[in-house]
């Protein structure tokens, strides 16, 4: 964790980015490799001076005027050069290994904490059962334990308490079950001390279940460009010109628009930078359909699960991530060229899709994704490519961001800003959750974050300005907007063999 930063009542906790220890260690490791290169370049200096000394000494041997002093000075200089080179090499080695040692220490601490949390959850489960059935007044004690657990949601914030519950759930249940299940769990804990990817395993489990029950079925992705007249005041044409600001809030206004333009649609903004180059901002809405889980809308529960299990897509009946196919078709049709910088931004499920695409080597091979900006999205476990800058906004009471069951990663390219807003935990649980997750709340955070002095937030703001091609903060940027709608077209009857590759019916032209 870098620091806490207070902006007009809202407090930010920032992890990762240029202000993080990880970033500094990266800089230090780089310094180490540079010093190592200097040392390598000096390798021949000492031996060469020694060689010349030998040449001069042997050549003048027996002469009445022998350059004793010069030869001796040359030997000393040769030795000084070699000593300096060895000193540099040692410094380089020590510097370069600092990051590795830090990583090792962090990993040990992480494993220790993970095991401790799981054992605590196991003990709590065991205690819960024992009190319920064996002790006088047990049920009352169990109710008290439950009350404490619920209280933890209010004191820790819903996000962290939910993450703890997700990761500790199996341990709690095993402890509560007792007997063989408890023993089996403890033994497995010994073999696999790191069992904290419960959330990813759960997402895969749900997908398998939905596949096996026929609730989700493979389909094909149909993509169409929506005429401007259907989503804007402009009567005809395809692209609509507009302006945005090179700020975090300016970026996140696009996902807000994506909710409004049409269902199952993404926005593609062609950014015209001041230097004449083109960049692309793609905005994704969050989950739009929960029931049925597999609907015509690509932003449904099935879509979320596809993105969360993107790296394991071959395991399931649907082999593709449909939203990713929509993104590819939209960018290609809009005219994105290989190498054009692309920013993906989304709220909630849209953020999951953005990060999942930025973690997919096949997608990155086609498009030069340079930045991902999300709000209220559980993306901590998605292996976003290290060359992609990530800015994720979260809130201490946003339960959705806990769905990854993991703390935000501490990486130099990945900044997670968690807000604690005044009055966050006030109201009913439903109100608190809704307010914490709303995009409007995050837009407010983004507005506040513009005034933050935190170096990692500042680094993210600079990355946005660089992407937009402006020098000053908050400058206006012109864009041309297009909207693309995707549809999950399911076969009328029972599903045939799982679809492979990208299949579209009335897809937009793919040529560039």
């Amino acid at each position: 964790m870098n620091a806490n930063d207070v902006c007009v009542g809202t407090m930010f906790t920032v992890i990762g980015g240029v202000g993080s220890t990880r970033y500094q260690l990266g800089v230090i490791a780089l310094a180490g490799s540079r010093i190592d290169a200097i040392s390598a370049d000096l390798d021949p200096v000492g031996p060469r001076a020694d060689f010349e000394a030998t040449w001069l000494e042997e050549g003048t041997m027996g002469l009445p005027d022998h350059p004793y002093a010069a030869v001796e000075r040359m030997r000393e200089a040769a030795k000084a050069c070699s000593t300096a080179r060895i000193g540099l090499k040692t410094l380089a080695d020590n510097t370069a290994t600092a990051a590795r040692r830090y990583d090792e220490a962090e990993e040990r601490n992480r494993l220790f904490l993970a095991r401790k949390n799981q054992l605590d959850a196991f003990r709590a489960g065991s205690h819960f059962t024992a009190q319920s059935w064996l002790l006088p007044g047990g049920p009352n004690n169990s109710v008290r334990d439950l009350g404490r657990w619920l209280d933890s949601f209010w004191t820790k914030g819903f996000r962290d308490a939910t993450e703890d519950s997700i990761n500790g759930g199996p341990a709690f249940l095993a402890g509560a079950a007792g007997g063989w299940p408890a023993l089996a769990y403890l033994l497995s804990l010994g073999r696999h001390p790191e069992r904290s990817d419960t959330a990813a395993a759960a997402a895969a489990g749900v997908r398998h279940m939905l596949d096996s029950t026929g609730v989700t079925r493979p389909g094909t992705v149909s993509v169409r460009r929506i005429p401007a007249g259907d989503w804007s005041a402009q009567p005809s044409g395809t692209g609509v010109r507009g302006t945005t600001r090179a700020t975090i809030e300016g970026i996140l206004e696009a996902p807000r628009d994506a909710y409004a333009v049409a269902p199952s649609a993404v926005i593609v903004d062609r950014i015209e930078r001041a230097d004449g180059t083109i960049a692309w901002r793609v905005a994704l809405p969050g989950t739009e359909v929960w029931d049925p889980p597999d609907s015509e809308n690509l932003f449904d529960l099935e879509g979320d699960l596809q993105a969360l299990t993107s790296a394991r897509r071959k395991e399931f009946m649907e082999k593709q991530v449909m939203v990713e196919e929509l993104l590819k078709a939209a960018l290609q049709d809009a005219g994105a060229k290989p190498g054009d910088p692309v920013m993906l931004t989304g709220h909630s499920g849209g953020g999951i899709h953005a990060a999942a695409a930025a973690a997919d080597p096949a997608f990155l091979a086609e498009f030069n994704v340079t930045m991902v900006v999300t709000a209220g999205a559980p993306i901590a476990r998605l292996p976003v490519d290290g060359r992609v800058g990530v800015l994720g906004l979260e809130n201490t009471y946003d339960i959705v961001t806990a769905a990854d069951g993991a703390a935000p990663p501490d990486r130099s390219n990945w900044v997670t800003v968690t807000s604690s807003r005044p009055g966050d935990g006030v109201g009913t649980m439903q109100d608190v959750i809704a307010r914490a997750h709303s995009l409007d709340g995050y837009l407010g955070d983004a507005r506040q974050a513009e005034h933050s002095a935190d170096p990692s937030i500042d680094g993210a703001r600079k990355s946005i300005r660089d992407f937009m091609g402006v020098a000053g903060p908050g400058q206006a940027v012109a864009f041309t907007r297009s909207v693309y709608q995707g549809r999950d077209v399911r076969p009328a009857k029972a599903p045939p063999a799982p679809a492979t590759g990208r299949e579209r019916r009335d897809a937009v032209p793919r040529g560039r």
Binding site: I28, I35, L56, G59, D65, P67, A70, E76, A77
Partner: protein, 90 residues
Amino acid sequence: MMGYAAGGPSAGEVARVAGVLDRLAGQMDEARVRLAAAGAVEWESAAAQAFREAVAGQAHALAAAADDLRGAAGLVRHYSLRLDVAGAAG
């Protein structure tokens, strides 16, 4: 290895050695400049202070080695002049 005549190396050959030593001193100077650039990291902590002190120590060692090389080059060049004078006299 370069050879030399039976009477020992010529003044020119010795002057070449002085030139080599000057060039090596230049390499050490260049390394010192590169080290200063590599060590200029934005890092504030006790470890950072130790790192900066280590970089400064190494820069000093590089400078000292360059001085030694130049000093040696000066002595060699002086010997070359003596050979030159002796050759002219003989």
